[in-house]
Homo-oligomer: 436 residues x 2
Amino acid sequence: MLNNYSKPVQIALKKAKADVGDKIKIIGGSEESEGLLMPRIELGDSDSIVIKLNSGYNIGVKYSKNLKIKKLESASETKPHFEKSKFDPKKPNVTIISTGGTIASKVEYKTGGVKAIENPEELLFNVPELREIANIKFVSACKKMSEDMEYADWQTIAKTVAKEMKLGNAVVITHGTDTMHYTAAALSFMLKTTKPVVLVGSQRSPDRGSSDAGINLICAVRAALSEIGEVGIVMHGSTDDDYCTFNRGTRCRKMHSTRRDTFRTLGENPIAKIYPNGRIEALTQYRMKKDTKTEADTKFEPKVALVKVYPNSDPDVLNYYVKKGCKGIVIEGTGMGHVPTHAKKAWTPVIKKLTKKIPIVIVSQTLFGRVNSNVYENLRILFHDSGAINGEDMLPETALVKLGYVLGHTKKIAEIKKLMSENIVGEISERSTISD
Amino acid sequence: MLNNYSKPVQIALKKAKADVGDKIKIIGGSEESEGLLMPRIELGDSDSIVIKLNSGYNIGVKYSKNLKIKKLESASETKPHFEKSKFDPKKPNVTIISTGGTIASKVEYKTGGVKAIENPEELLFNVPELREIANIKFVSACKKMSEDMEYADWQTIAKTVAKEMKLGNAVVITHGTDTMHYTAAALSFMLKTTKPVVLVGSQRSPDRGSSDAGINLICAVRAALSEIGEVGIVMHGSTDDDYCTFNRGTRCRKMHSTRRDTFRTLGENPIAKIYPNGRIEALTQYRMKKDTKTEADTKFEPKVALVKVYPNSDPDVLNYYVKKGCKGIVIEGTGMGHVPTHAKKAWTPVIKKLTKKIPIVIVSQTLFGRVNSNVYENLRILFHDSGAINGEDMLPETALVKLGYVLGHTKKIAEIKKLMSENIVGEISERSTISD
């Protein structure tokens, strides 16, 4: 773990029996520094010893032969004990609702693995700048990596948001990135609000030198205190640490497994650039914040399925889902929303049969662009003859969540059809011309 | 259909009882022009009457009161009768293998619908420039919109390519765009070749003013005659009509339902920009063309399935597929390849049970970036404990086609695992660092 330090630093640390994660004291002349020894991850000056102070800030102490290094506690005994921040009546109040994920994780330096932090307040230890912006309150809604999130978690989060807003607090939700866009879509539909509701995560755990957690969290708090009255995801907008983007909750997607600027708004601009210093640069129109009451309407039908068509795909999977009790299906068609129509395994006859029982919504696996129910003969068979619902330019993940939400509120097919094809909270953009 | 013409033009055409699609003669002073009356689609000078000459070229005749317009044949009687091109021994030979799709369609001006052309040679009528570049031979492999393509069509196309290459011809395949990337991946694996194999389509039918078919076809023929010894898709590289891109067949995807620059290479650069005049600008490394024999190895197992995980998704669908006789499954996981692991509906136990019978390959629904089998505990459970195969940075569609190809050639799980995780024809890029 001392690998990236220069040879002389490694020798000095080994002599003091100090390893990464240990609490150490460094004495150099009249100066003393005390904190956790950090790994040397960043490139650059490998001759400086990096320690994390009790305040949460990291400092580098330039190595010289005269430094005295003393190990105070070994990593196993060390607990982060950071200074409690004092309530400042002049600052706004922000509740950070913690749900788990990488942003609420840390690297175990001994094993190299990533594990959950025990206490969400540890975030302040890694991002001490937050205290300068607002009085931060932590609430834990759950503790899950986001691939394990379920609709019941969305309901809990929505209710917690409504509760904290009732107290007058602005709200940020920390969340694993993998399914954050599904949660963002769910909260967009469930929360009747005109205030900012900001989801944020990180692609690297907050204690790593290259972590995006710090800037993401700072920008998320800035966004939560802004005039943008929408539900959205605030994460890195570029691969640099310069700004974040506010992505509308129903229009974005995790688009890269590892890059820090993984969340992208598709088919329109992100709502705004958010800079760590609080500057906000609008990139498109958004709903202005109003001081109305926030309510959580969390009724949801979880028995909805997302199915993708592809060459040789078998439409019998639709029958399977309906037999299992599925109440609605979203199909990712190809191009303008096509499904195999004249292929040996034709989907349209099965769809025609099933739309008498359940709603079937068509979106496009291209991700960009709109479904069209008219241009080609096969589209007319699908929409006009077989009764499929045109999902317009909804993202597949958003359409799935919306269908669960709509089915949680009505069983009337005409109403479902209407709601699925019209815009409720920004999930369907205005019709664009075919030529774009 | 005369809508976009100026009022005086409309009046003159109506007086001559001429409608779009009719064969007309326009006499103005000493000049005479004869051809099909075209609709006025493009913006601009709506005072010129557009007719398509027998050569295939369109011309605009400026309207004046002195023009005489005579209707020769009505649209229903009119058949395109274009000049046959003469064989030129100095020009290279290119076979265009036609399979159907929008590029092999035309707008029926009377109904506004899009229907298939009867004869692939009609393409030359719409893109007469092709004759200047090469001697063009047409072969029809099938006549389908691409959403109806099946693996048997891939096999037919692969064999037709091998046959035409044996004759010494360069090869272009015209194809519907919806599933062109699935076909491109299939041909990449099936064709043992070191020559260019170029797929091309269009987002607008070739007889429309805004069609991309012309430039796409010209660039496709240029690419087929180039030194790029790979299977790929050549389509518009931007929304302008300036150049096309050559996209590696295993690394690209249709990314927009309507835009002309819909095909995008993901995770790396396209191979090259191809300009209509024949200029080629390499954007990354590619396999240089060599004059070796092309063979089609088309063995394929069509019983493979593509399944996407999402919050609340039920892993029982995997059991369903295996019961139906499915021989292998590709799962689109979230982020670095996660599946619900500690959720109520946990996927890992089902995967662990099924990987004793069939291969299960994990790719990421982010589309960009790589699967990782180590960083998080849930990933270690999936890959090390449950036996899933790491699909690296393969695109989901490519992984599905590859699994069908691999299963067509071996039933040995160790061999399948090895083949699915290693690069065969550019489908897996070299490992990048986690920090990109």
